[in-house]
Symmetry: C2
Subunit: 501 residues, 2 copies
């Protein structure tokens, strides 16, 4: 198994993409201000980029008689410009805050800030010079990176609103496409499978860099633990290594990601290579079920992500994710001609579906419930619909009832919103799906987003699960799917109009 994993990693590394490099300068040129202690200047690059900056600095006044001490802050959106990192006391590392402190001993100087940042705005603040000289910024240039080829994307023509939704979606995906599909170029800058699955869908509709999906699948398959379990995320620096974080749903998502990849590419060789790894995830997940074919309540089954809503009970959602993924495995087994295995898996699917209908569906409410408290949530219904526990007609009714049900636990991430929209599409309610997409992602655009956020709760736009929005990521892969909805799922006015007539 170690040899096989090494071979997977080798294959993944052979697929490492080249990065497209583009040099950009601020939209409005370089102000000629002579900066003294306490002064600052903001450079607006006009759009969201991922890259490194180079500054040309000089002095005005007398000869520089002390090191110039500056702070450079990189901001993905305007709001961050005014946030004070000193106020941050959240639980994830301050190291993510995009700030650098630099001393420049000799001016003029070309200063290469050698870390990669994610930004539209760069704020340069002079902490101190001396009374005898000022700092002058002669030039600032960003060297920006992506492994997405802009030229591969077909132009989409639709309503102004749809074109905006599509454009920001593509920008988000593009800037997360680096040497792997990163979750966010600000944070965590690495490959998470939950993000990968959605990025791959948006990628098929736009950049079509299918080898990058393949690379990422092999990276996950090459970094399973001793049990063969897929990790939630893979590090590629300094060497490829799987994280020691495992999540019930994330491990299982290897399967539908592989299925989507096959559906797009018909690359049966890759499916054949990775099928055992995929199958293993169902075997491991199966251990979480009781004899009644119901998954143990979330408090005993380890972490199942689903959404960043910390009040969310995960039991029913996890059951649905399992069914969804096992069904994907059935398809893969069939593609590989493993009909006996496929039949076995189908049998298990039926048991889990039956148990779900009996024990997790509240007939009086007409909704799925989760956990001891019988919690009703968007996450649970969406996954139940995607899992196809009921047929499309009942699913349609469930989502309509959910829409009317006032006490349902809500969604806080674009990631969960994606699944809700997809559930609406699956159950034939494209009109509501379209409206929800426009209102949710559209609200970010109204707030000036060049890329979609990691977190967006319309009722509390600056919510953060990290204790402060200072470390929130505003270009986050799992929010990039509007282009997929618009281009691949027919969520656009033209299609909806055609359906209605």
């Amino acid at each position: 198994m170690l040899e096989e994993k090494a071979a997977f990693i080798k294959k993944a590394e052979s697929l490492k993409p080249k990065l497209y490099i583009k040099r950009v300068r601020p939209l409005l040129g370089i102000p000629t201000d002579k900066l003294k202690a306490g002064d600052s200047t903001v450079f607006d690059f006009g759009n969201h980029f991922v890259g490194r900056i180079k500054l040309k600095l000089s002095s005005a006044g007398s000869h520089q008689d002390a090191p110039a001490f500056i702070k450079i802050k990189f901001c993905e959106n305007k709001r961050e410009l005014d946030e004070d990192a000193a106020d941050y006391h959240g639980w994830i590392s301050k190291g993510w805050i995009q700030e650098e402190w630099l001393h420049i001993d000799v001016l003029p100087a070309v200063v290469n800030v050698d870390r990669r940042f994610s930004f539209r705005y760069v704020k340069l603040e002079v902490i101190d010079v001396s009374s005898k000289f000022s700092l002058v910024v002669d030039d600032i240039e960003a060297e920006t990176y992506t492994s997405a080829n802009d030229e591969c994307v077909n132009k989409y023509s639709g309503s102004r609103e749809e074109e905006d939704l599509d454009r920001v979606s593509i920008r988000t995906l593009r800037n997360c496409m680096q040497e792997v599909f990163e979750d966010g170029p600000k944070r965590d800058r690495r490959l998470w499978i939950g993000d990968l699955r959605l990025q791959a869908l948006a990628n098929y509709a736009t950049f079509k860099n299918n080898d990058l999906v393949k690379r990422c699948l092999y990276l996950f398959a090459g970094t399973t633990d001793d049990n063969g379990r897929i990790t939630a995320c893979v590090f590629t620096e300094p060497n490829v290594e799987g994280d020691d974080t495992y999540m019930f749903d994330y491990s299982l998502f290897f399967i539908p990601t592989l299925l989507d990849y096959y559906n797009e590419t018909k690359d049966l060789e890759t499916v054949s290579d990775l099928f055992d790894t995929a199958k293993r995830q169902v075997e491991l997940a199966k251990e979480c079920f009781g004899p009644d074919d119901i998954i143990n309540d979330s408090d005993v089954m380890g972490w199942c992500f689903l959404d960043w809503n910390l009040r969310l009970n995960k039991q029913a959602g996890a059951q649905a994710v399992y069914i969804y993924c096992e069904k994907a495995l059935v398809k893969l087994a069939k593609y590989l001609g493993k009909s006996e295995l496929a039949a076995e898996l189908c049998n298990d699917v039926e048991n889990k579906v039956k148990a779900a209908k009996e024990k997790l569906y509240d007939k009086d409410l007409g909704l799925f419930v989760s956990g001891r408290e019988k919690q009703v949530s968007y996450a649970t219904q969406a996954w139940a619909v995607l899992a196809g526990i009921f047929d499309d007609e009942v699913n349609h009714e469930i989502l309509n009832r959910l829409h009317e049900y006032k006490n349902a636990e809500k969604m806080v991430t674009p990631y969960m919103y994606h699944h809700y929209i997809e559930a609406l599409i699956k159950s034939g309610n494209k009109k509501l799906a379209y409206d929800k997409m426009c209102s949710y992602w559209g609200a970010m655009i109204e707030k000036g987003a060049d890329t979609y956020y990691e977190l967006f709760n319309p009722e509390n736009p600056y919510e953060s699960p990290y204790g402060s929005s200072v470390v929130n990521s505003y270009c986050h892969a799992w929010s990039c799917t509007p282009a997929y909805f618009i281009r691949s799922c027919g969520l656009n006015k033209e299609n909806l109009y055609n359906q209605l007539i």
Copy 2:
């Protein structure tokens, strides 16, 4: 004149010294602590050094899942370790505070901190890692620099106290000897003529790097202003350029520095090259005198440094410095056979001496007084003695009276102490000179000094003219002269004992 200055700079650059590079590691090895957010560790290199550090860092625990964010602080002495730079609101640039903020994206890493620092202690503080990993320092190494050749220094054998005074003196000089004689390797890291003059004296007694003195003399001669005035300090980066700071005494000190250099080397060619520049300083200084041959009071004559005591009146001291330097010019003129000029200068010296005796000497007090308030100060008496306004006998009495006079303005810098000690020696009071040297510089050694400080007021050890001791320099050239006193002036017990018997 421009061509001549360019030629001087060219000559100076041809004399740029090579730096001796030595790699050092902390005295007690590397602690193996696993550092979490808020933890810090101090590396003690065992002595004062000037150089760059290289860190080898790695992580412990899970795979690094966030940039490690660290702060590195360089301290010349132990007291600085506990000072908080955030408290600094003084009037010179925060840029001098020896601190660096670094993010390390990928561990393990070799981190070359590419700025030069002045330190014995290096404190590494972890601002943040993540809950999943710790930072480990595997190694730290300093690449240290000096243009002083340790092997040139003869061993001095004397009392334990004298050997300590000598050792710290040499260390101070050594670490200030870089590509020029720097004033202080922490701050300002450049060539000031007040420091150069004393460094050259200590250098003749120890390292004997006479070409470095020559280089510095040519740098000053090559960077005079349009009037031919010697600047107080010269920058060498990015190109050689004179500062636009001029001080009455500092410009004149070009002359005795050249004379001392000639006395040591008998290099008449350099004297011949630089004589006109030297002479010009007297011509320019002469403009500050009134028709009574008394210098205008300090408040009208621009800045004369003398000492960092901000209450000090500079009038009488400036008059004495002028006489001292004009006398040096007379000697240089004579060496070049310019007897007519020498006679002219002598005549001017006599006028200035006569005026000083009549108008600046208070017969009742038996002391020189300065300014409208007739201020009595150590600085004024010391310079009056060094200028030889009176003969040795009277000088001896003046300094004895000063010793008894309670209201004299005191000295705050080792620089001014140097001149006081030198005045005591000149007036034949070596015993008091010896005691003063031992008590003043010895008090710094008692406080644990590896090098002598820029500022040291025994009555207020943490005094700073900059608003806070955070930016004080603890290895400062102008305090390096005990080795000169001990080795060249006979300020040691053996010699004093021989004189007494």
